[in-house]
């Protein structure tokens, strides 16, 4: 470390120059930073659900629907219908929209006395009330229109299917623009995933703009309060600011967009990255009796570099645990870029701070001595207290852990984008309205592989449709089977699937050119889909629904008809997300825990030491997750990160504590003495860090995006837990067991050894 610190201080001018240049480059590239809240893109491209959904999207004109809802007293009036007609015609031309379905262009199949009518539901918009009422009665009487007109005729939908592979939020924006320019009478709602993404993107930007500076302010206040001088404030904050600029700049350069979780990167870097600066500045303030600032800097840096590097490496490991452990692209990216950001913060702290400090004269704080006098008294008292109640501390710990484990089994999960909006948002209100009138906005698709012109296959489709209808959360399933039935009825042969293939071919010939046909049947007629809407209640319910549908498919596969059913769409994607979250949780936890264990062993040179080192953090994790179980905070896209983040950050306390303990034991005659010294020095630094990080994350409580909010609360909790565990539980354990590998270090041990030799 001596070499390292000499190198840094000797090349300080060059280092400062390089850092300035890099910062300028990254700051410039930051302007191209993009945002992505597309749920499907969280899963890797290779995911089965994603592949299937893409396939359907390509073949049937999209698998995501942007919903424009129009509400007024009675939509069956000339003005409203005219507006809908004009809007429908205009929306067809929005780039990225494949099909638009509304009251004014939806297909109608009627059997009359002498003939068959296949055409649009509305050809000429009627202007006399009687005709309008007739139309209304007719529309409300048919199942086919349940998905575009509410039962009370007050709400109607314009469904815009989005082409596969377009920028969904961008298309949704365009749609919004067109609708707003039409000046619709009545209330207009925007629903469905594409519109939700627009809002989510906006929330992410707002959060980023507001929260990051807020965290900065909070940190500055804490640092001012604890260091009582400008140096201790400006330097750590400078490091943090630079590492944020570097990280976001790099993301922008590599074309990695911000997501619901990665918009917390600046906040995390502020909280985590400042710790390195704090420890370094703190070290420099300690009494080192060398007046030459350059030499002082070398000494101070050589002593603090290793624990800071270790702390940084463990934090990086915590974040990297998401990369290896997660199936989800966005979590992987988050892991990579927080790790990179922490690495940046580490590098900048170890180079820039000492370089700048070595130019500055050492400023002795006048009241420092009296301060530390008081501090000494306090920490000695504290150590005595811990020593006295050590068994109580241990028992209490065991109880808490047991309670935590019980709580872990109560944890809920949440993957829906809807649940990520606060209850008072428009998005939630729209979703409620759609739920009430149409049963939701989540598209479900059943892909049917088989000869679609075969009556047996069509009947089977019919059965599946009926099964879906029987499910509480599935609404308005639509397929070619129901349309063929309607046509058969119009041909005067009853509302059923015709009995011969020839008849089906004849009927399909009549509607082949219709938009609805290409949305439901593949051009080769060897595949078809059933579309339905699903009500989102909870991730658990969605998973159950997916399971039920799959079970049903398994039960019908034995009929001997050559037909295969598969489901896809948002429910399946949600289920995969849900499974992936659990999986990545477990994997990243194991990875991170294993890694910090190894680091602790490396630092303390014994397995027992390693175990001791990870006690506080393991306890923290158990209690934190237990708390989630009891408080109803679900495991979601952001809270899944708690384990890794708190492990990576919390372990630093153990590292600093044990590092200092080793140093102090060599100077002490008893454990109590050494521990009180540790508490008085490193302990204070840890406390400052806990407070500053916790309060920094407290800012996330003001986030617009719910997962980020919960993430903030949870990190707050884990910081206090791991800080407390390090400063109270660790001493209690050490005082109780007085482990041998530490005892060896004590001065009196040396004396005893000498006595024995004599």
């Amino acid at each position: 470390m001596q070499k390292f610190s000499n190198f840094i201080i000797n090349n300080r001018k060059i280092l400062i120059f390089i850092i300035i240049v890099l910062t300028l480059i990254f700051a410039y590239s930051m302007k191209n930073l993009k945002i992505n809240s597309d749920f499907a893109s969280y899963l890797p491209e290779t995911d089965y659900a994603v592949k299937l959904a893409r396939n359907i999207g390509n073949k049937y004109g999209g698998n995501l629907t942007a919903i424009v809802a129009i509400e007024n007293e009675d939509i069956f009036n000339h003005k409203t219908l005219t507006e809908i007609y004009n809007l429908t015609e205009k929306l067809k031309y929005v780039d990225g929209v494949s099909y638009v379905t509304s009251l004014t262009n939806v297909i109608d199949i009627k059997g009359t006395e002498e003939g068959i009518e296949i055409g649009r539901l509305i050809n000429e918009i009627p202007d006399d009330q009687q005709k309008l009422n007739e139309l209304k009665r007719y529309v409300l009487s048919k199942d086919l229109y349940k998905n575009i007109v509410s039962r009370d005729a007050k709400v109607t939908l314009i469904l815009c299917k989005l082409r596969e592979g377009v920028d969904k939020a961008q298309v949704a924006k365009e749609i919004k623009k067109v609708v707003e320019s039409e000046k619709i009478t009545g209330k207009v709602y925007y629903g469905g995933l594409p519109f939700q993404m627009i809002d989510m993107n906006q929330l992410i930007i707002d959060d980023l703009k507001i929260l990051t500076p807020l965290v900065g302010v909070v940190m500055i206040l804490i640092l001012l309060f604890s260091f009582k001088n400008l140096r201790g404030v400006i330097l750590p904050i400078l490091c943090v600011a630079l590492s944020i600029i570097w990280t976001l700049g790099l993301m922008s350069l590599l074309n990695i967009p911000l997501t619901i979780i990665s918009d917390s990167i600046p906040v995390i870097l502020t909280a985590v990255g400042s710790a390195y600066g704090i420890h370094i500045v703190n070290k420099f303030r300690e009494d080192i009796r060398i007046t030459n600032p350059k030499e002082r800097a070398k000494i101070a840096l050589s002593e603090i570099a290793l624990p800071v590097i270790l702390a940084g490496v463990t934090t990086i490991a915590g974040f990297l645990s998401f990369v290896s452990g997660s199936y989800l692209t966005m979590i992987k990216e988050f892991g990579i870029f927080t790790s990179v950001g922490v690495l940046f913060a580490l590098i900048i702290s170890l180079t820039l701070i000492p370089s700048i400090l070595s130019f500055l004269k050492h400023e002795r704080m006048i009241n420092k001595v009296s301060d530390s006098q008081q501090d000494r008294k306090l920490v000695v008292k504290l150590t005595k207290l811990i020593s006295k109640f050590k068994y109580l501390v241990l028992i209490f710990t065991v109880l808490i852990v047991v309670a935590g484990i019980v709580g872990i089994f109560k944890i809920n999960r949440e993957v829906s984008i809807i649940e990520y909006f606060k209850p008072e948002t428009n998005v939630r209100a729209t979703e409620e309205m759609l739920k009430k009138n149409f049963g939701g906005s989540l598209p479900l698709y059943i892909l049917i592989k088989g000869d679609i012109q075969n009556p047996e296959v069509l009947n089977e489709i019919k059965n599946v449709e009926n099964f879906l209808r029987s499910l509480e959360d599935v609404h308005n399933p639509q397929s070619i089977a129901s349309i063929i039935e309607e046509m058969n009825n119009a041909m005067g042969e009853g509302k059923k699937i015709p009995e011969t293939r020839e008849k089906i071919i004849n009927l399909m010939f009549l509607i082949e050119g219709e938009e609805i046909f290409s949305q439901l049947v593949s051009p080769e007629k060897d595949e078809a889909i059933i579309q339905a809407m699903v009500t989102y209640a909870s991730s658990t319910k969605i998973s159950e629904l997916v399971q039920r549908i799959d079970n049903y498919f398994a039960s019908i596969s034995s009929k001997g008809i050559d037909v295969k059913f598969e489901q896809t769409g948002m429910p399946l994607i949600y289920k995969h997300l849900d499974d992936a979250i659990i999986k990545s949780q477990i994997q990243s936890l194991i990875f991170a825990l294993g890694f910090v264990f190894l680091i602790m062993i490396f630092q303390l040179k014994t397995v027992l030491g390693g175990l001791l080192g990870i006690v506080p953090i393991s306890l923290t994790i158990v209690v934190a997750y237990g708390f989630m179980g009891y408080s109803g905070i679900p495991l979601d896209i952001a809270t899944v990160l708690i384990a890794g983040v708190s492990l990576g950050m919390g372990i630093d306390y153990s590292i600093h504590f044990m590092n200092r303990l080793k140093v102090e034991l060599k100077e002490s005659y008893a454990f109590e003495e050494a521990i009180s010294k540790v508490l008085g020095t490193t302990g204070i630094a840890i406390l400052i860090n806990v407070l500053s990080v916790a309060l920094g994350f407290l800012v996330l409580v003001f986030a617009n995006v719910i997962p980020l909010q919960r993430f903030g609360i949870m990190i707050l909790l884990t910081m206090f837990l791991s800080g407390g565990a390090t400063l109270v539980l660790l001493p209690a354990i050490i005082l109780t067991f007085k482990p041998k590998f530490l005892r060896k270090l004590l001065k009196q041990v040396e004396i005893q050894k000498q006595v024995e030799i004599k």
Partner: protein, 243 residues
Amino acid sequence: MRYLFLPIALLLFLNTSFAQLTAVEILKKVDEVSYSAKDQFYKSKVTLIDKNGRETYREALMYQKGTNKRLVKFTEPADIRGIGFLSLPDDVNYVYLPAFKKSRRIASHIKNQNFAGTDFTYEDMEALTYSEKWEPELLRKDDSYYVLKLTPRKGRTSDYSKLILYARVDNFYPEKIEYYDKAGNLHKILTRRKIQKIGNYWVALETEMKDIKKNHTTKLVLEDVKFDTNLSDDIFTVRNLER
């Protein structure tokens, strides 16, 4: 100012009335060249091309008498063989589905429905002459085309807001028609190629209708074109349709 205004107004007035007249005349000529055969027969080979470039092939026989009697019988491929459409005066239309051994009337007011999966709607195939249906306006004339803007006549309903028709200067044959929807967007383009004189009549042996919205195209190739063979009225009956 006033002195200036008068001649300009006069000029404008003269100009429009003059154009109006010629536009109407041009359209009459277009009608003559399009609709003057007493009857016609041809075999049409239809290719449908969807947005992914996938092609569907069909063949049909087409009999037409005057401007308002038409029978279409599909002959290829085998699975649709026998399906037929019959159009009679006063918007009476029948479809025959051989699998059902039944013909049904098709509602007359549904003009915006595409005919048998092609890009032609019933309205496009309507037997009305252009002049009966459209109010013409001459937009411009160049070396090869008269360019007319057609808007629906009062009392005539159309699914289109306007048509832009390109009639050849030499023979008035409508070589290209652009169809605009009610929102004013270009919806479809009809292009005719291989325009030849068979007997006394001009006919396009290749026709292409492209639906811009759907990105879907219909290509027609005509064979065995015969004009004025005195087709019997018996051909245009439901009984014959069901044969």
